[in-house]
């Protein structure tokens, strides 16, 4: 099976690395992955056209284009609307998390989380679906 393409949107570099490492080490659960990192909402907008991705993992609280806006953008986009989105939120940001889910995010992960939490959440979203990056016309 082809590697699943995952876009990780997060403004903290070590948080991104954490997510990347966890996903890349979690092959047994998630399968082979190709992780692309975006350091901001804008970066994500720039990288999305190079998709499609099989999963987008995004922080909510980011400057400028926040995670909620990214979720809405993805859901409105003809190309990406079917892409699952996993939100990363903090424990006490229920309101933002609820909004994210209402906007069409598929699941959320509250910080702090373990690599195992992340991998099982990611693999739930990746499911056993069709092979990735296939034009989903």
């Amino acid at each position: 099976m082809t590697a699943r393409r995952i876009l990780v949107v997060e403004d903290s570099v070590s948080m991104r690395s954490f997510v990347r490492n966890a996903l890349e080490a979690g092959t047994a659960e998630v399968g082979e992955v190709e992780v692309t990192e975006a350091s901001s909402g804008f970066d994500a907008l720039r990288l999305l056209p190079r998709g499609p991705y099989d999963l987008v993992i995004t922080d909510i609280n980011m400057p400028d284009v926040n995670g909620l806006e990214l979720v809405q953008f993805i859901r409105k986009s003809e190309r990406h609307k079917a892409t699952p989105v996993l939100l990363i939120s903090t424990q006490n940001s229920d309101r933002d998390r609820e909004r994210g889910l209402a906007l069409g995010a598929n699941d959320y992960l509250a910080k702090p989380f373990t690599p195992e939490n992340l991998c099982s959440a990611a693999s739930r979203q990746l499911g056993g679906g069709a092979s990735p990056a296939e034009p989903n016309g």
């Binding site: 070590s14 690395s17 080490a25 720039r46 909620l68 806006e69 809405q72 903090t90 909004r99 016309g137």
Partner: protein, 703 residues
Amino acid sequence: MAEGGDKAREEFLSEAQEIIESLSRSLLALDASLKAGTSDPSLINEAFRAVHTLKGLAGLFGAAKMGTLSHRLEDVLDGLRLGRMDLTPETLDILFNAVDVYGRILQVERDSLDDPLMIVDDLVGRLENFGAEDKEEMSPVVEYDLDPGMLAVLTEYEEHRLRTNIEQGLGLYRLRVQFELATIDKALDDIKERAKTHGEIITYLPTGETTSADTIELDLLMASRDDLATLIGSLGADNVVIEAIPRRGRPSRAPSQPLTTAPEARQISSMDAPSPSALDLADSSDVAAEPAGSLRSVAQTVRVDINKLDHLMNIVGELAIVRGSFSRLTERLRGEGQRQLAAELQRLHRNFDRRLAEMQDGILEVRMVPLGQVFDRLARVVRQISREVSKEIRLVITGAETEIDKLIVEELSDPLMHMIRNAIDHGIEGAEGRQAVGKPEAGTIALNAFQKGNHVMIEIEDDGAGIDDEALIAKAVSQGLVEAGEVPDLSRDEILAFVFLPGVSTRDEAGDYSGRGVGMDVVKTNISKLGGVIDVQSETGIGTKMTITLPITLAIVSALIIRVSRQLFAIPLNSVTEAIAFDESSVKIVDGREVMTIRGTTLPLCRLRKLFQFPQGQPDDKRRFVVVTSLGSRRLGLVVDHLLGQQDIVIKSLGKSLASVRGFAGATELGDQRVCLVLDPAALIEEVLVGVDTREDFARSNG
């Protein structure tokens, strides 16, 4: 995490260090602004974000003390940024203290020191006393006519900033910007910097509308004390459109405003700073009310970009593909004995079919325009030219109401114009010449259009001198297009076809209008680009008639799907007259060309396997077929391996990089996402039957 662990930890520590430094900078700036008696909410938010990120990282990397401290600090800063508590010098002291404590935590973590870090517990204890007094937040947001889509994506903090700004009486504006993705960072920094002096940008929302793959459109929600004119003057640009977001439910004040201020208020695009009175008047509600009122009176018609119609048509095409699955599914259900479900599905299918057909027709209808549009223009040209060349011309138009695809009409204008000029310039004789042969002094050009099946025919007929065969032959021979020795074998039709060869239809003494250079070969090329063909008939002394045959529309066509070797192709049905079994033994060679006889007429053949250079030899199934294609008066039999059936297809053109490849009208997608090439019968007929101007190219592409 096994291997990446150390490296990741290092990365974490160095990022934490950076964040703590930036926290320190934010606090210093806050201190400065507090002393100056001002407040900058973005600084508090930056500090909040710093500890927020630290908290998240601490959780992931097991830095418990950092986590505890960050958690408490986050509460305090959240209260501050959401306006639940006020920033005091005492609070700042504690925050500065926190920076030192963070520094120690990092040191301990990095050097694996044995320090229980009691200072953290101490600081956390002091932070406990900072309870956020719950300030009730009202919701003045509803006063504004904000797009709910925009409200829904605001984070808690952004929403708080929005409220605060409204409470402070600032106006709201929407900046719709288009940025190149490649340079977006710079563009944003730029607009942020300029916006700073006018107010606060609350959020940046990508609209999802794209004009091209390299640009992105964003809605910036901005709160500002300045009025629209000032903002446009300062921030407006080609790619930045600024609108005031109107307040709801407030009566418009516009009618009662003193007349003197009105003109200034209208100068929205003016770069000058507005006068104080104009500033008052350019209230968001007024600005928005005006265009809204005038918009209601628009006419019953809209102009539509043809690309949008194409897009709709593509969707219809995709739906037509979906439709195919219905029948397959029905069959399957039936096969599995689910008769009732199958019947239900079939009913749905029929309904879907009917609606789809209606939609298809509807869209096609929108694309159709009467040929009269272009004919009117031709009439003006005739009047003008005839005056200038002193020839009296009568233009007789019939069938101007015949409808054809708008795209075709646009492309027809030039070729038709050229043919009319030719007719006036070269066809119709001067007044004396006409009198001498007993024709009426005024020459007649007839322009006839009519629909014939799936095609529209346009005839341009003049009662001039006709085409001079001898001159045409001489020209063709001198241009090396034909050997003098071959001439006696040529039929009159073949001779007349020379008109369409490059370099033939241009006259030695250039006429004023048809001129030199652009000849009938160009006209012919343009017509074939539209999927049409052009024929010429001429009688010496009586006149010339050019006939153009065009498809009605370029969009959806029914096609015959065929297989050659292992590849599928589509042939537009509008040029297919029949498909018959191929009998190898009935093939004869005439003039070096393979032909067969059907019902007493000779049909030239083209073996697609050979033309496409597919592996030769007997195809797997013995039965092969001949698809008879015809355009105008010409016919060509295409020898194919297999017929698969009929399907509606949307023809998409091949890219420019394949423009030189002959024989294809484009490509289409069949149900299985595979691309299927669509044959261009007109081009194949051209290539195989006429041959004169193509033999050379063909040899080249074979070689």
